[in-house]
């Protein structure tokens, strides 16, 4: 599995980006996002392009309480939506976005659990500070 990481800080925003390339042998991954005081909005965005399997994404707050569980892709349902143009290789392009207003301070964890997955996943976080 390959991965890359980037941080971009602007005047009242902090953005991070992680790119993961998963294959069938890839195991569970965790991405940590540190939320400092004064953050009004935490946005977690997961963009997946799967050709196989599924990816479960779970978001845990600093108290390790799960704040969301989302799945992209499905073992039995790969394909293009009805009416869309068929691709040569069945591919699932999905995007999940979770917005948390007034997030608790501390380390938020994004747990990515692949199941026999062949995918590229971009995980972006955006923190907006109060002005």
């Amino acid at each position: 599995m390959l991965s890359s990481f980037a941080i971009v800080a602007q005047s009242n925003e902090l953005n991070t980006q992680n790119s993961l390339f998963l294959n069938e042998k890839s195991k569970e991954q965790s991405i940590k996002v540190e939320v400092a005081g004064g953050v009004e909005n935490l946005q977690i965005q997961i963009r997946c392009s799967l050709t196989k399997g599924e990816v479960i994404v779970e978001l845990f707050d600093p108290e390790e309480k799960r704040q969301g569980k989302f799945t992209v892709g499905s073992k039995d349902n790969l394909g293009t939506p009805k009416g869309e143009k068929e691709q040569n290789e069945p591919r699932e392009d999905g995007k999940l976005e979770k917005i948390v207003v007034n997030p608790a301070n501390g380390i938020w964890t994004i747990k990515i659990t692949p199941t026999k997955t062949k995918a590229k996943i971009d995980v972006r976080s955006n923190q907006k500070y109060s002005k």
């Binding site: 989302f70 499905s74 039995d76 790969l78 394909g79 009416g83 699932e92 007034n102």
Partner: protein
Amino acid sequence: MALSKMKWGFLLLALVALDSTIASEKQPHEKPGIYGDIKLDSAWNPVVYLSLIPNFEERFTMASGYIVEKANIDAQGRFYFSTSFLPEEDAFYRIHISKKGDPPSTLIIGGNDENFKFFITNKNERIEIGSTVDGSSVRDFELTGYAPNVQLATIKQWADVVDSANFAGTQIKRELIENAFAEKMRLLADTNSNALVSLFALYQSDFEKNKTVNESFYEDFLEKWKAEDSEYFKLFRAQFHPAKSSSFLLWMLGAGCFIVGFGIAFFIYRKKETESSIAELSVQERKIYKLLEEGLSNKEISEAHNIGVNTVKSHVSSILSKLKMKSRKEIMRD
């Protein structure tokens, strides 16, 4: 007379035409289906997707395979889904839209741009989805037409209140809000007359955490809806009962380990006891014991040691007595 007949004929034709006009105008409102009249801003694609959610665990799963139909939104903001191909029974559906540049399988959860709405319907019901505010998001859509969706909307409103609560507040405050919400969901699940609404409320209440401390509540709930055999209830039963079956498996595993452990301990004890007893045997008896271990008969032992068969019998009897054994076969097993 002929003129009068013609007048009546025209009148009759006019009435038939008027009746069919009224019927055709009324028809869209009476026909089952999902009718939309919404006002979106230009950030969104003018396409609505209808997904059939197979179970409540997957309500936030985004897979194109769940999309059963899509409809274009016309210039007036109208769209329509036929429900003729949907199941007769109530099922859980989601409509969503996606922003320009995003894939059709996009789910935005929380915030003003939340892009989906859940609802319950079946092939015979009529659902109307509307928005009054220009440039509104799916969050502002009003869904009318099938009674169970009123309760569903209430659940969503409560969930939004919890989501918008100040999470930067203390842990205790947050837990109080979440516990109050879960309690409210359980109450709604207990009192609602629609099976899917009741079950949805339980899933919103984070029942996995509560099921072990409030087991009788869930048993009563399952008893109440025992006739329900939809996939939604099948999964719920499977999620609820493993708690019992897994503890039973653990019990069985523990019992198995105990029996195996006891067997090993007994074997070691017997081995040690035999070893200490062997030390009590005379030199001649130990020699005969060795041959007994190899399975030799009395005659063979008498020939091997050049002693009489009766003497061998006497030694064997003494060996068995000292080792507290009933037959020479036990020596061979050891």
